[in-house]
């Protein structure tokens, strides 16, 4: 019962954020980029000195926090989804090939996975962004090229289990091509494991983007990335702690929602426990 509720809560959070992200320009009460230096650091409406014109207050440049939060949802969701699509494609391809063919193919795949795990993700991502200049596309590309390891591991293990099953033997006996077997027989039967990995990786990608932006080498200002908002606000947090609470809570709630949804899917779909 509690688990179902938790999954439902996760689904509501993720779907809600997705809708907000898609409709961001329609929902934002103000322009997220317009500064009003006469209205800096206005506290949220429920605190002393807050106004209903700025429900969540304004930042250090007088930009409406709620509007920036809404625009930031779009960035986070975009990063999460695009990164997972890229890393999922890379990891699944590698893992399925290794797991299905075994032998030297598997040795190569395992070697590539081991190398990838030895690379410090944050450090390499920071260097790439610093060298090539920060942009949304670059962050997605970098994270996508780095975060495929779990996809590969899970796709490999599950493909290995699937390849010994009867329907694969049947397809082989029927003369299906290797490509057909991989795409039409193996992939659909390991899909549910990969969906669970996708939620985990999406959460990780969103957290990493926030961390990169927080360190000043992720999404470039003035884009309202939640991580960047926390970074810009942290100089003021000693006097007005709410400035880091607003974007921080948003980030926490979204990642929590994705994780709850992923956990629920794992239980429901009976995916591997270590996925």
């Amino acid at each position: 019962m509690i688990r179902t509720l938790a999954t439902l809560l996760g689904a509501v959070i993720v779907l809600g954020t997705l809708i907000v992200a898609i409709c961001a320009p329609l929902l934002a009460p103000h322009d997220p980029f317009v500064q009003d230096l006469s209205l800096r650091m206005v506290p949220p409406a429920w605190m002393e000195g807050g106004t209903t014109a700025h429900l969540l207050g304004t930042d250090q440049l007088g930009r409406d926090y709620l509007s920036r939060l809404i625009a930031g949802a779009r960035i986070s969701m975009l990063i999460g989804i695009a990164t997972v699509m890229l890393s999922g494609a890379i990891g699944t391809t590698l893992g399925v090939l290794g797991g299905y063919f075994g032998g030297w193919v598997d040795d190569v795949v395992m070697f590539v996975i081991t190398c990838r795990l030895a690379i410090p993700v944050i450090l390499v991502a920071l260097s790439v962004v610093s060298l090539l200049g920060s942009s949304l596309t670059l962050v997605v590309m970098t994270l996508g090229l780095l975060l495929w390891d779990r996809f590969a591991v899970v796709a490999r293990t599950t493909a290995m289990q699937v390849r010994t099953l009867d329907y694969i033997a049947a397809a082989r006996a029927a003369g299906c091509s290797r490509a057909y077997i991989l795409v039409r027989e193996v992939l659909p039967n390991i899909r549910h494991h990969l969906v669970v990995v996708a939620t985990l990786e999406m959460a990780l990608a969103i957290l990493l983007e926030a961390a990169l932006s927080f360190l000043g080498l992720g999404v470039p200002a003035p884009l309202p990335s939640w991580g960047l908002m926390i970074s810009e606000a942290k100089d003021y947090m000693y006097f007005t702690p709410w400035v880091i609470m607003v974007p921080g809570v948003a980030l926490f709630v979204l990642v929590l929602g994705i994780n709850l949804l992923g956990d629920g899917l794992r239980d429901r779909l009976g995916a591997a426990r270590d996925a």
């Binding site: 070697f111 030895a118 410090p120 260097s127 790439v128 926030a210």
Partner: protein, 305 residues
């Protein structure tokens, strides 16, 4: 056993070579490193001077072979910024990062193992579910944000602990907790899973039948078997923690290897970046190798792999 270790060592060396190549390629990504070093507003002449001074005018393969050769002999290049050996800079900063990493690991293990055991002993009960939920919540905490919250609360509101720097042990408490946070959920699940398997095994049933006390069964019989994968993962986690401590070192202004890397990245000091990437990778590779060998020593069934 020796063959197993030899195979693993060769594999580790191959991985290290690959990472070496990648860390070299990484700094050449921008196309022209000399332009990046010179920074904005440099004249063509400045760029040419820098290119000659750092040997960047030589063909790439020559530069690569040179970098591999000196890296193998322990020379990881010189910092553009400090005019010091990158290896010396890392050595200087290492104690801070190592202290932080080990503190984080200790906090993580001391939290995850008892709660994992508790969870396993009450599998399916409210306490088990509650702990599972706490783990999910912990996983969703952005580490840098958690760090800032702890600074506000313990450093400012309560005034118990310093908010930045590491003059004494107190400076490591908050960052250690934040670092541990990221590792606790995985270690907790692993302990719980291992304990559940162990508690339902034949030898535990035998121990029960012999009338041994509950504490003795759980701690002496079950935990010994469940601890093995936890130890292995803990070694790997330490590798991840050392790499991931960059964010936490930045938040708490701890001048460790991560901070050095961040500084070097923002200031285009690429020999240091290259060196730190390689250094962290080698530590990770060594820890994984250690975990593999340790596991094989403890469990002969794994030696065939």
């Amino acid at each position: 056993m020796l063959t197993f270790i030899a195979r693993r060592v060769v594999l580790a060396l191959c991985v290290a070579m690959t990472v070496l190549t990648i860390s070299f390629a990484l700094t050449r990504l921008s196309g022209d490193l000399a332009v990046s070093i010179a920074g904005a507003g440099a004249t063509a002449e400045d760029v040419a001077t820098i290119r000659r001074a750092y040997g960047l005018d030589r063909p790439l393969p020559v530069q690569f072979v040179d970098w591999v050769r000196s890296a193998a002999s322990g020379d990881l290049g010189r910092s553009y910024l400090y005019h010091e050996q990158a290896a010396a800079l890392i050595r200087e900063r290492l104690p801070v990062t190592l202290t932080l990493g080990l503190t984080g690991l200790a906090v993580a293990l001391l939290t995850a193992i008892p709660f994992g055991i508790l969870s396993a002993m009450h599998e399916g009960a409210p306490i088990d579910r509650a702990l599972g939920l706490v783990a999910v919540i912990g996983q969703a905490m952005p580490s840098f944000w958690l760090g800032l919250l702890l600074i506000i609360w313990f450093g400012l509101k309560l005034g118990w602990l310093p908010v930045s720097g590491a003059d004494d042990w107190q400076g490591y408490v908050l960052p250690g907790i934040v670092l541990a946070f990221s590792a606790i959920p995985a270690l907790l699940r692993l302990t719980r899973g291992g304990m559940i398997d162990a508690l339902s095994s034949d030898y535990v049933r035998t121990a029960r039948a012999k009338g041994l006390s509950r504490a003795s069964i759980v701690l002496k019989h079950a935990l010994r078997n469940a601890a093995m994968p936890v130890v292995a993962v803990a070694a790997v986690q330490l590798g991840f923690m050392l790499g991931g401590s960059i964010v936490i070192e930045a938040v708490f202004a701890l001048h460790g290897v991560g901070y050095l890397a961040w500084e070097s990245i923002s200031k285009n000091d690429f020999p240091v970046v290259q060196a730190v990437v390689l250094f962290l990778a080698v530590i990770y590779i060594a820890l994984t190798l250690l975990a593999d060998v340790l596991n094989a020593v403890l469990d002969p069934r794994l030696r065939t792999g």
